[in-house]
Amino acid sequence: MNLSVKISSVTFKNPVTVASGTFGHAEKYHNLEEVKKLGAIVPKTVTLYPQVGNPPVRIWETPCGMINAIGIENPGIDAFIQTKLPNFKKIGVPLIVSILGHTPEQFVEIVEKLNTQEDVAALELNLSCPNLKHKTLVAQDPQATQELVRKVKAVSKFPVIAKLSPNVTDISEIAMAAEAGGADAVSLINTLSAMAIDTKTRKSRIGNFTGGLSGPAIRPVAVAMVHKVYSSVKIPIIGMGGIANANDALEFIIAGATMVATGTINFVNPRASLEVLEGIVSYMKEQKITDIHQLIGSLQK
Protein backbone atom coordinates (compact mmCIF):
# COMPACT_ATOMS: atom_id res chain seq x y z
CA MET A 1 0.00 0.00 0.00
CA ASN A 2 1.42 3.38 -0.95
CA LEU A 3 0.65 6.18 1.46
CA SER A 4 3.48 8.47 0.50
CA VAL A 5 2.79 11.84 -1.05
CA LYS A 6 4.92 14.62 -2.42
CA ILE A 7 4.97 18.39 -2.18
CA SER A 8 7.40 19.76 -4.76
CA SER A 9 10.38 17.42 -4.47
CA VAL A 10 9.81 16.49 -0.83
CA THR A 11 8.35 13.09 -0.03
CA PHE A 12 6.23 12.50 3.06
CA LYS A 13 5.82 8.88 4.10
CA ASN A 14 2.11 9.39 4.69
CA PRO A 15 -0.42 12.20 4.31
CA VAL A 16 -1.13 12.89 7.98
CA THR A 17 0.22 15.93 9.78
CA VAL A 18 -0.85 18.37 12.49
CA ALA A 19 -2.14 21.93 12.13
CA SER A 20 0.10 24.77 13.22
CA GLY A 21 -0.60 25.98 16.74
CA THR A 22 -2.18 22.75 17.89
CA PHE A 23 0.86 20.58 18.41
CA GLY A 24 2.94 22.83 20.59
CA HIS A 25 6.49 22.98 21.76
CA ALA A 26 5.91 21.05 24.94
CA GLU A 27 8.23 18.12 24.48
CA LYS A 28 7.50 16.93 28.01
CA TYR A 29 4.38 15.05 27.09
CA HIS A 30 5.11 13.77 23.61
CA ASN A 31 5.02 10.12 23.06
CA LEU A 32 7.86 10.15 20.58
CA GLU A 33 7.27 6.66 19.31
CA GLU A 34 3.84 7.76 18.22
CA VAL A 35 4.80 11.14 16.80
CA LYS A 36 7.43 9.44 14.65
CA LYS A 37 4.70 7.77 12.65
CA LEU A 38 3.31 11.04 11.28
CA GLY A 39 3.93 12.22 7.75
CA ALA A 40 5.10 15.62 8.93
CA ILE A 41 4.86 17.95 11.90
CA VAL A 42 4.08 21.66 11.82
CA PRO A 43 5.01 23.70 14.90
CA LYS A 44 3.24 26.90 15.93
CA THR A 45 3.83 29.90 13.64
CA VAL A 46 7.10 31.72 14.25
CA THR A 47 7.57 35.47 13.70
CA LEU A 48 10.73 37.50 13.20
CA TYR A 49 10.72 38.92 16.72
CA PRO A 50 9.40 37.25 19.86
CA GLN A 51 5.69 37.83 20.53
CA VAL A 52 4.11 37.59 23.97
CA GLY A 53 0.67 36.89 22.59
CA ASN A 54 -2.74 38.29 23.43
CA PRO A 55 -4.13 39.07 26.86
CA PRO A 56 -6.25 36.34 28.47
CA VAL A 57 -8.89 34.93 28.06
CA ARG A 58 -7.45 33.39 24.90
CA ILE A 59 -9.81 30.50 24.23
CA TRP A 60 -13.50 29.80 24.52
CA GLU A 61 -15.45 26.60 23.99
CA THR A 62 -18.29 26.77 21.44
CA PRO A 63 -20.72 24.17 20.07
CA CYS A 64 -18.44 21.46 18.62
CA GLY A 65 -15.57 23.91 18.39
CA MET A 66 -13.59 26.67 19.99
CA ILE A 67 -12.58 30.26 19.50
CA ASN A 68 -8.92 31.14 19.94
CA ALA A 69 -6.99 34.37 19.97
CA ILE A 70 -3.54 33.31 21.10
CA GLY A 71 -1.82 36.11 19.21
CA ILE A 72 0.97 33.96 17.77
CA GLU A 73 2.84 33.80 21.08
CA ASN A 74 6.29 32.55 20.06
CA PRO A 75 9.94 33.08 20.89
CA GLY A 76 10.89 34.63 17.53
CA ILE A 77 12.84 33.00 14.73
CA ASP A 78 16.30 33.22 16.32
CA ALA A 79 15.28 31.52 19.54
CA PHE A 80 13.20 29.06 17.53
CA ILE A 81 16.24 28.06 15.49
CA GLN A 82 18.45 27.80 18.55
CA THR A 83 16.22 26.12 21.10
CA LYS A 84 13.21 24.57 19.38
CA LEU A 85 14.48 23.40 16.01
CA PRO A 86 17.04 20.92 17.39
CA ASN A 87 14.31 19.14 19.36
CA PHE A 88 11.99 18.98 16.42
CA LYS A 89 14.76 17.65 14.23
CA LYS A 90 15.46 14.94 16.77
CA ILE A 91 11.98 13.54 16.25
CA GLY A 92 13.05 12.59 12.77
CA VAL A 93 9.79 13.50 11.05
CA PRO A 94 9.77 16.00 8.15
CA LEU A 95 9.29 19.45 9.63
CA ILE A 96 7.12 22.11 8.02
CA VAL A 97 7.96 25.45 9.62
CA SER A 98 5.06 27.91 9.78
CA ILE A 99 6.18 31.52 9.56
CA LEU A 100 4.56 34.94 9.62
CA GLY A 101 6.04 38.34 8.88
CA HIS A 102 4.26 41.58 9.56
CA THR A 103 5.71 42.90 6.28
CA PRO A 104 6.99 41.11 3.19
CA GLU A 105 10.49 42.15 4.27
CA GLN A 106 10.04 40.38 7.59
CA PHE A 107 8.97 37.25 5.72
CA VAL A 108 12.12 37.43 3.63
CA GLU A 109 14.28 37.98 6.69
CA ILE A 110 12.78 34.95 8.44
CA VAL A 111 13.30 32.81 5.33
CA GLU A 112 16.93 33.89 5.07
CA LYS A 113 17.52 32.82 8.63
CA LEU A 114 15.87 29.47 7.98
CA ASN A 115 17.90 29.05 4.78
CA THR A 116 20.95 28.53 7.02
CA GLN A 117 19.32 25.39 8.39
CA GLU A 118 19.08 21.84 7.10
CA ASP A 119 16.33 19.33 7.81
CA VAL A 120 13.44 21.65 7.14
CA ALA A 121 11.00 19.99 4.72
CA ALA A 122 9.03 23.07 3.75
CA LEU A 123 7.84 26.48 4.86
CA GLU A 124 4.20 27.28 5.49
CA LEU A 125 3.35 30.97 5.11
CA ASN A 126 0.70 32.08 7.56
CA LEU A 127 -0.94 34.69 5.36
CA SER A 128 -3.26 35.88 8.11
CA CYS A 129 -1.00 38.87 8.48
CA PRO A 130 -1.78 42.52 7.77
CA ASN A 131 -1.91 43.55 4.15
CA LEU A 132 -0.18 46.91 4.22
CA LYS A 133 -1.83 48.25 1.08
CA HIS A 134 -5.43 47.53 2.14
CA LYS A 135 -7.16 47.13 5.45
CA THR A 136 -7.49 43.41 4.84
CA LEU A 137 -5.15 40.52 5.54
CA VAL A 138 -2.76 39.30 2.87
CA ALA A 139 -4.80 36.08 2.66
CA GLN A 140 -7.85 38.18 1.73
CA ASP A 141 -6.24 39.82 -1.29
CA PRO A 142 -5.16 37.81 -4.35
CA GLN A 143 -2.58 40.35 -5.47
CA ALA A 144 -0.96 40.70 -2.08
CA THR A 145 -0.91 36.91 -1.79
CA GLN A 146 0.74 36.45 -5.17
CA GLU A 147 3.39 39.10 -4.50
CA LEU A 148 4.22 37.81 -1.07
CA VAL A 149 4.54 34.23 -2.25
CA ARG A 150 6.72 35.36 -5.14
CA LYS A 151 9.05 37.29 -2.81
CA VAL A 152 9.39 34.33 -0.48
CA LYS A 153 9.90 31.86 -3.32
CA ALA A 154 12.67 34.09 -4.69
CA VAL A 155 14.75 33.53 -1.56
CA SER A 156 13.57 30.26 -0.02
CA LYS A 157 15.62 27.13 -0.49
CA PHE A 158 12.64 25.14 0.78
CA PRO A 159 9.29 24.44 -0.88
CA VAL A 160 6.70 27.04 0.06
CA ILE A 161 3.14 26.34 1.20
CA ALA A 162 0.64 29.20 1.37
CA LYS A 163 -1.87 28.87 4.23
CA LEU A 164 -5.21 30.33 3.26
CA SER A 165 -7.90 32.02 5.29
CA PRO A 166 -11.56 31.00 4.87
CA ASN A 167 -12.70 34.57 5.48
CA VAL A 168 -12.90 35.37 1.78
CA THR A 169 -15.52 35.57 -0.93
CA ASP A 170 -13.78 33.11 -3.19
CA ILE A 171 -10.95 31.03 -1.78
CA SER A 172 -10.07 29.57 -5.17
CA GLU A 173 -9.12 33.05 -6.35
CA ILE A 174 -6.58 33.32 -3.53
CA ALA A 175 -5.33 29.79 -4.17
CA MET A 176 -4.79 30.58 -7.83
CA ALA A 177 -2.92 33.72 -6.86
CA ALA A 178 -0.66 31.69 -4.57
CA GLU A 179 -0.07 29.22 -7.37
CA ALA A 180 0.72 32.05 -9.76
CA GLY A 181 3.19 33.39 -7.20
CA GLY A 182 4.97 30.06 -7.30
CA ALA A 183 3.59 28.32 -4.21
CA ASP A 184 4.38 24.61 -4.11
CA ALA A 185 1.20 23.86 -2.20
CA VAL A 186 -1.65 25.53 -0.36
CA SER A 187 -2.96 24.62 3.07
CA LEU A 188 -6.47 25.42 4.21
CA ILE A 189 -8.41 26.38 6.14
CA ASN A 190 -7.23 28.67 8.89
CA THR A 191 -9.87 29.73 11.45
CA LEU A 192 -13.11 31.61 10.69
CA SER A 193 -13.45 35.05 12.31
CA ALA A 194 -15.63 34.59 15.34
CA MET A 195 -16.82 36.02 18.59
CA ALA A 196 -18.60 35.02 21.79
CA ILE A 197 -20.12 37.41 24.29
CA ASP A 198 -20.58 37.16 28.04
CA THR A 199 -24.15 38.40 28.36
CA LYS A 200 -23.71 39.12 32.08
CA THR A 201 -20.82 41.55 31.66
CA ARG A 202 -21.63 42.44 28.03
CA LYS A 203 -18.01 41.96 27.11
CA SER A 204 -16.33 39.67 24.65
CA ARG A 205 -15.32 36.32 26.10
CA ILE A 206 -11.97 36.82 24.41
CA GLY A 207 -9.27 39.17 25.68
CA ASN A 208 -8.41 40.13 22.12
CA PHE A 209 -12.13 40.90 21.46
CA THR A 210 -12.42 38.68 18.37
CA GLY A 211 -10.87 35.33 17.60
CA GLY A 212 -10.97 32.43 15.20
CA LEU A 213 -13.35 29.48 15.13
CA SER A 214 -11.99 25.96 14.67
CA GLY A 215 -13.02 22.40 15.38
CA PRO A 216 -15.61 19.96 13.98
CA ALA A 217 -18.19 22.77 13.75
CA ILE A 218 -16.37 24.20 10.71
CA ARG A 219 -15.58 20.94 8.94
CA PRO A 220 -18.34 21.19 6.31
CA VAL A 221 -17.06 24.66 5.38
CA ALA A 222 -13.49 23.41 5.12
CA VAL A 223 -14.42 20.40 2.97
CA ALA A 224 -16.30 22.66 0.54
CA MET A 225 -13.32 25.01 0.30
CA VAL A 226 -10.84 22.21 -0.26
CA HIS A 227 -13.00 20.91 -3.06
CA LYS A 228 -13.34 24.36 -4.58
CA VAL A 229 -9.58 24.93 -4.49
CA TYR A 230 -8.91 21.45 -5.86
CA SER A 231 -11.02 22.34 -8.88
CA SER A 232 -8.97 25.49 -9.48
CA VAL A 233 -5.28 24.77 -8.93
CA LYS A 234 -2.80 22.06 -9.83
CA ILE A 235 -0.57 22.28 -6.73
CA PRO A 236 -1.23 19.94 -3.81
CA ILE A 237 -3.53 20.88 -0.94
CA ILE A 238 -3.02 20.29 2.77
CA GLY A 239 -6.56 20.04 4.09
CA MET A 240 -7.65 20.87 7.61
CA GLY A 241 -10.55 22.26 9.57
CA GLY A 242 -12.43 20.18 12.09
CA ILE A 243 -10.97 16.78 11.31
CA ALA A 244 -11.79 14.54 14.27
CA ASN A 245 -11.27 11.05 12.89
CA ALA A 246 -10.19 9.07 9.85
CA ASN A 247 -13.55 9.36 8.12
CA ASP A 248 -13.38 13.15 8.36
CA ALA A 249 -9.85 13.10 6.99
CA LEU A 250 -10.97 10.90 4.11
CA GLU A 251 -13.63 13.47 3.23
CA PHE A 252 -10.82 15.99 2.75
CA ILE A 253 -8.69 13.60 0.71
CA ILE A 254 -11.60 12.63 -1.51
CA ALA A 255 -12.43 16.32 -1.89
CA GLY A 256 -8.89 16.92 -3.12
CA ALA A 257 -6.42 17.15 -0.25
CA THR A 258 -3.03 15.51 -0.73
CA MET A 259 -2.26 15.79 2.96
CA VAL A 260 -4.52 16.30 5.97
CA ALA A 261 -3.88 17.85 9.36
CA THR A 262 -5.59 17.38 12.70
CA GLY A 263 -5.87 20.60 14.66
CA THR A 264 -8.23 21.44 17.48
CA ILE A 265 -9.15 17.78 17.99
CA ASN A 266 -5.60 17.16 19.25
CA PHE A 267 -6.64 18.97 22.42
CA VAL A 268 -9.50 16.58 23.01
CA ASN A 269 -7.81 13.44 21.78
CA PRO A 270 -4.01 13.68 21.74
CA ARG A 271 -3.87 10.50 19.65
CA ALA A 272 -6.19 11.90 16.98
CA SER A 273 -3.55 12.24 14.27
CA LEU A 274 -2.38 8.66 14.80
CA GLU A 275 -5.94 7.39 14.78
CA VAL A 276 -6.51 9.24 11.53
CA LEU A 277 -3.49 7.54 10.03
CA GLU A 278 -4.56 4.10 11.27
CA GLY A 279 -8.09 4.68 10.03
CA ILE A 280 -6.95 5.71 6.56
CA VAL A 281 -4.96 2.48 6.30
CA SER A 282 -7.96 0.35 7.36
CA TYR A 283 -10.22 2.18 4.95
CA MET A 284 -7.84 1.62 2.07
CA LYS A 285 -7.62 -2.07 2.94
CA GLU A 286 -11.39 -2.40 3.12
CA GLN A 287 -11.90 -0.52 -0.13
CA LYS A 288 -8.98 -2.34 -1.76
CA ILE A 289 -7.20 0.88 -2.62
CA THR A 290 -3.48 0.41 -2.97
CA ASP A 291 -2.30 3.95 -3.52
CA ILE A 292 -3.50 7.04 -1.69
CA HIS A 293 -3.35 8.89 -5.01
CA GLN A 294 -6.35 6.87 -6.18
CA LEU A 295 -8.31 8.64 -3.45
CA ILE A 296 -7.09 12.21 -3.76
CA GLY A 297 -9.78 14.29 -5.44
CA SER A 298 -11.78 11.18 -6.37
CA LEU A 299 -15.09 12.78 -5.48
CA GLN A 300 -17.75 11.97 -8.06
CA LYS A 301 -20.14 14.63 -9.22
Binding site: G24, V52, I59
Partner: protein, 258 residues
Amino acid sequence: MDQIQNIYRVVSNEKLCPQFWRLCFDAPELVKKVQPGQFVHIRTSEGLEPFFRRPFSVYRAQRYVEIFYEPKGPGTRLLASKQKGDPLDVLGPLGTPFTLPPAEITQVVMIAGGIGVAPMLILSDILKKKKYDLVLIYGGRSRGHVYPMKEFKDNGVKVHIATDDGSVGVKGRVSVLFDKVKFNSSNTFIYTCGPNPMMKAVQEFALKNQIKGQVACEEIMACALGACLGCSIETKNGYKTVCYDGPAFDIGEVIFHK
Protein backbone atom coordinates in the same frame (compact mmCIF):
# COMPACT_ATOMS: atom_id res chain seq x y z
CA MET B 1 8.22 7.74 27.88
CA ASP B 2 5.12 6.90 29.87
CA GLN B 3 1.79 7.41 28.31
CA ILE B 4 -0.12 10.33 29.74
CA GLN B 5 -3.46 9.38 28.19
CA ASN B 6 -5.13 6.35 29.67
CA ILE B 7 -8.52 4.78 30.09
CA TYR B 8 -9.16 3.98 33.73
CA ARG B 9 -12.13 2.41 35.51
CA VAL B 10 -14.40 4.36 37.83
CA VAL B 11 -14.33 2.78 41.29
CA SER B 12 -16.90 4.98 42.96
CA ASN B 13 -18.73 8.23 42.40
CA GLU B 14 -20.84 9.76 45.14
CA LYS B 15 -22.28 12.93 46.51
CA LEU B 16 -20.42 13.96 49.66
CA CYS B 17 -22.61 16.89 50.57
CA PRO B 18 -25.38 18.76 48.73
CA GLN B 19 -22.88 20.60 46.56
CA PHE B 20 -19.87 18.36 46.07
CA TRP B 21 -19.13 14.95 44.66
CA ARG B 22 -16.13 12.65 44.80
CA LEU B 23 -15.11 10.30 42.03
CA CYS B 24 -12.45 7.62 42.51
CA PHE B 25 -10.76 5.80 39.67
CA ASP B 26 -8.25 3.02 39.56
CA ALA B 27 -4.93 4.29 38.23
CA PRO B 28 -1.95 2.81 40.07
CA GLU B 29 0.70 4.55 37.91
CA LEU B 30 -1.03 7.87 38.44
CA VAL B 31 -1.18 7.31 42.21
CA LYS B 32 2.55 6.84 42.18
CA LYS B 33 3.39 9.83 40.03
CA VAL B 34 1.01 12.58 41.02
CA GLN B 35 2.11 15.40 43.28
CA PRO B 36 -0.05 17.89 45.22
CA GLY B 37 -1.31 20.70 42.99
CA GLN B 38 -1.24 18.61 39.84
CA PHE B 39 -4.41 17.85 37.95
CA VAL B 40 -6.02 15.45 35.51
CA HIS B 41 -7.80 16.37 32.29
CA ILE B 42 -10.90 14.25 31.77
CA ARG B 43 -12.96 13.64 28.67
CA THR B 44 -16.44 13.75 30.15
CA SER B 45 -18.25 12.81 26.94
CA GLU B 46 -17.48 10.20 24.31
CA GLY B 47 -18.75 12.62 21.72
CA LEU B 48 -18.16 16.29 21.03
CA GLU B 49 -20.40 17.84 23.68
CA PRO B 50 -19.00 19.28 25.76
CA PHE B 51 -16.12 19.65 23.37
CA PHE B 52 -13.18 20.28 25.68
CA ARG B 53 -11.90 17.95 28.33
CA ARG B 54 -12.39 19.21 31.87
CA PRO B 55 -9.51 19.75 34.34
CA PHE B 56 -9.76 18.58 37.96
CA SER B 57 -7.22 18.80 40.74
CA VAL B 58 -6.20 15.53 42.23
CA TYR B 59 -7.91 15.47 45.63
CA ARG B 60 -6.23 12.39 46.94
CA ALA B 61 -4.04 9.60 45.59
CA GLN B 62 -3.86 6.66 47.94
CA ARG B 63 -5.32 3.41 46.71
CA TYR B 64 -7.18 5.24 43.95
CA VAL B 65 -7.00 8.65 42.39
CA GLU B 66 -9.78 10.81 43.77
CA ILE B 67 -11.24 14.00 42.43
CA PHE B 68 -13.60 16.30 44.29
CA TYR B 69 -15.98 18.27 42.14
CA GLU B 70 -19.09 20.35 41.88
CA PRO B 71 -21.62 19.43 39.19
CA LYS B 72 -22.48 22.77 37.64
CA GLY B 73 -22.29 22.60 33.87
CA PRO B 74 -22.49 19.97 31.13
CA GLY B 75 -19.07 18.44 31.79
CA THR B 76 -19.35 18.07 35.53
CA ARG B 77 -22.94 16.84 35.23
CA LEU B 78 -21.81 14.12 32.84
CA LEU B 79 -19.08 13.26 35.32
CA ALA B 80 -21.71 12.88 38.03
CA SER B 81 -23.51 10.34 35.84
CA LYS B 82 -20.52 8.00 35.66
CA GLN B 83 -20.96 4.72 37.42
CA LYS B 84 -18.73 2.16 38.98
CA GLY B 85 -16.94 0.27 36.23
CA ASP B 86 -17.39 2.96 33.58
CA PRO B 87 -14.31 3.81 31.56
CA LEU B 88 -12.74 7.22 32.17
CA ASP B 89 -10.45 8.84 29.59
CA VAL B 90 -7.83 10.71 31.60
CA LEU B 91 -4.74 12.77 30.78
CA GLY B 92 -2.39 13.11 33.70
CA PRO B 93 -0.71 13.85 35.92
CA LEU B 94 -0.43 17.35 34.50
CA GLY B 95 1.03 20.68 35.49
CA THR B 96 3.59 22.02 37.87
CA PRO B 97 2.85 20.89 41.44
CA PHE B 98 3.08 22.95 44.60
CA THR B 99 6.62 23.44 45.83
CA LEU B 100 7.02 22.14 49.36
CA PRO B 101 7.72 24.66 52.14
CA PRO B 102 11.32 25.80 52.61
CA ALA B 103 13.35 24.51 55.56
CA GLU B 104 12.51 27.25 58.10
CA ILE B 105 8.75 26.68 57.90
CA THR B 106 6.90 25.10 60.83
CA GLN B 107 3.33 26.19 60.14
CA VAL B 108 1.39 25.65 56.92
CA VAL B 109 -1.86 27.55 56.40
CA MET B 110 -4.08 26.35 53.58
CA ILE B 111 -6.68 28.91 52.52
CA ALA B 112 -9.34 27.56 50.22
CA GLY B 113 -12.59 28.82 48.79
CA GLY B 114 -15.29 26.47 47.56
CA ILE B 115 -14.04 23.76 45.26
CA GLY B 116 -10.54 25.22 45.71
CA VAL B 117 -10.22 22.92 48.68
CA ALA B 118 -9.63 20.02 46.28
CA PRO B 119 -5.81 20.17 46.02
CA MET B 120 -5.44 20.77 49.76
CA LEU B 121 -6.26 17.26 50.93
CA ILE B 122 -3.51 15.57 48.94
CA LEU B 123 -1.21 18.36 50.09
CA SER B 124 -2.03 17.67 53.73
CA ASP B 125 -1.54 13.94 53.10
CA ILE B 126 2.06 14.74 52.19
CA LEU B 127 2.72 17.50 54.71
CA LYS B 128 1.38 15.63 57.72
CA LYS B 129 4.31 13.27 57.42
CA LYS B 130 6.64 16.21 57.94
CA LYS B 131 5.18 17.37 61.26
CA TYR B 132 4.03 20.85 60.29
CA ASP B 133 1.31 22.67 62.17
CA LEU B 134 -1.40 22.37 59.56
CA VAL B 135 -4.28 24.84 59.37
CA LEU B 136 -7.12 25.01 56.84
CA ILE B 137 -9.14 28.17 56.45
CA TYR B 138 -12.13 27.27 54.37
CA GLY B 139 -14.71 29.61 52.90
CA GLY B 140 -17.94 28.41 51.34
CA ARG B 141 -21.23 29.86 50.32
CA SER B 142 -23.47 28.01 52.73
CA ARG B 143 -23.95 24.79 54.70
CA GLY B 144 -24.49 22.73 51.57
CA HIS B 145 -21.11 23.86 50.30
CA VAL B 146 -19.19 22.69 53.36
CA TYR B 147 -18.04 19.16 53.21
CA PRO B 148 -17.57 17.75 56.71
CA MET B 149 -13.84 18.11 56.97
CA LYS B 150 -13.16 14.70 58.51
CA GLU B 151 -10.25 13.77 56.26
CA PHE B 152 -8.49 17.01 57.04
CA LYS B 153 -9.05 16.56 60.75
CA ASP B 154 -7.77 13.00 60.51
CA ASN B 155 -4.63 14.49 59.01
CA GLY B 156 -4.26 16.66 62.10
CA VAL B 157 -5.33 19.81 60.28
CA LYS B 158 -6.92 22.52 62.40
CA VAL B 159 -9.97 23.63 60.43
CA HIS B 160 -11.60 27.09 60.49
CA ILE B 161 -14.73 27.68 58.46
CA ALA B 162 -16.47 30.80 57.20
CA THR B 163 -19.67 30.85 55.16
CA ASP B 164 -21.28 33.73 53.34
CA ASP B 165 -24.51 33.22 55.28
CA GLY B 166 -23.01 32.09 58.58
CA SER B 167 -24.81 28.75 58.42
CA VAL B 168 -21.57 26.99 59.35
CA GLY B 169 -18.60 28.58 61.11
CA VAL B 170 -18.37 32.34 61.16
CA LYS B 171 -20.22 34.57 58.75
CA GLY B 172 -18.17 36.27 56.04
CA ARG B 173 -15.23 35.77 53.74
CA VAL B 174 -12.13 33.73 54.58
CA SER B 175 -10.36 36.95 55.54
CA VAL B 176 -12.49 37.24 58.68
CA LEU B 177 -10.63 34.15 59.91
CA PHE B 178 -7.12 35.50 59.40
CA ASP B 179 -6.88 36.68 62.97
CA LYS B 180 -7.69 33.18 64.27
CA VAL B 181 -4.28 32.07 63.06
CA LYS B 182 -0.90 33.35 64.10
CA PHE B 183 0.77 34.10 60.78
CA ASN B 184 4.46 34.62 61.10
CA SER B 185 6.62 35.74 58.23
CA SER B 186 9.56 33.64 59.40
CA ASN B 187 7.86 30.27 59.79
CA THR B 188 4.42 30.33 58.10
CA PHE B 189 3.79 29.15 54.55
CA ILE B 190 0.49 29.71 52.75
CA TYR B 191 -1.18 27.61 50.06
CA THR B 192 -4.28 29.07 48.53
CA CYS B 193 -6.79 28.00 45.91
CA GLY B 194 -10.23 29.35 45.17
CA PRO B 195 -12.04 32.10 43.33
CA ASN B 196 -9.73 34.81 41.98
CA PRO B 197 -11.05 37.58 44.27
CA MET B 198 -10.27 35.41 47.27
CA MET B 199 -6.80 34.53 46.01
CA LYS B 200 -6.19 38.19 45.33
CA ALA B 201 -7.13 39.03 48.94
CA VAL B 202 -4.87 36.27 50.24
CA GLN B 203 -2.07 37.48 48.01
CA GLU B 204 -2.38 41.02 49.35
CA PHE B 205 -2.41 39.74 52.90
CA ALA B 206 0.64 37.54 52.30
CA LEU B 207 2.63 40.25 50.57
CA LYS B 208 1.76 42.84 53.21
CA ASN B 209 2.82 40.47 55.98
CA GLN B 210 5.77 39.08 54.02
CA ILE B 211 4.55 35.53 54.25
CA LYS B 212 5.73 33.12 51.59
CA GLY B 213 3.38 30.82 49.84
CA GLN B 214 1.86 29.41 46.68
CA VAL B 215 -1.36 29.83 44.76
CA ALA B 216 -3.09 27.28 42.53
CA CYS B 217 -4.76 29.01 39.59
CA GLU B 218 -7.59 28.07 37.27
CA GLU B 219 -8.25 29.07 33.68
CA ILE B 220 -10.31 27.64 30.85
CA MET B 221 -8.21 24.94 29.20
CA ALA B 222 -8.12 23.27 25.83
CA CYS B 223 -5.08 20.96 25.62
CA ALA B 224 -3.80 21.14 29.23
CA LEU B 225 -0.44 20.08 27.77
CA GLY B 226 1.13 23.49 27.21
CA ALA B 227 0.52 23.08 23.49
CA CYS B 228 -2.18 25.59 22.61
CA LEU B 229 -1.02 28.46 24.85
CA GLY B 230 -4.69 29.04 25.52
CA CYS B 231 -4.74 29.02 29.32
CA SER B 232 -2.23 31.81 29.85
CA ILE B 233 -2.61 34.22 32.73
CA GLU B 234 -0.73 37.39 33.51
CA THR B 235 2.16 37.11 35.90
CA LYS B 236 5.00 39.41 36.95
CA ASN B 237 7.12 37.35 34.55
CA GLY B 238 4.80 37.71 31.57
CA TYR B 239 2.08 35.37 30.38
CA LYS B 240 2.32 31.88 31.81
CA THR B 241 0.21 28.82 31.08
CA VAL B 242 -1.80 27.52 34.00
CA CYS B 243 -1.62 23.98 32.67
CA TYR B 244 2.13 23.76 32.19
CA ASP B 245 3.87 26.55 34.12
CA GLY B 246 1.16 26.22 36.80
CA PRO B 247 -1.37 25.56 38.27
CA ALA B 248 0.96 26.29 41.23
CA PHE B 249 2.76 29.64 41.24
CA ASP B 250 4.57 31.60 43.92
CA ILE B 251 2.02 33.65 45.75
CA GLY B 252 3.45 36.95 44.58
CA GLU B 253 3.87 36.03 40.96
CA VAL B 254 0.33 36.04 39.59
CA ILE B 255 -1.40 39.28 38.63
CA PHE B 256 -5.07 38.93 39.56
CA HIS B 257 -7.43 41.20 37.72
CA LYS B 258 -10.83 40.03 38.80
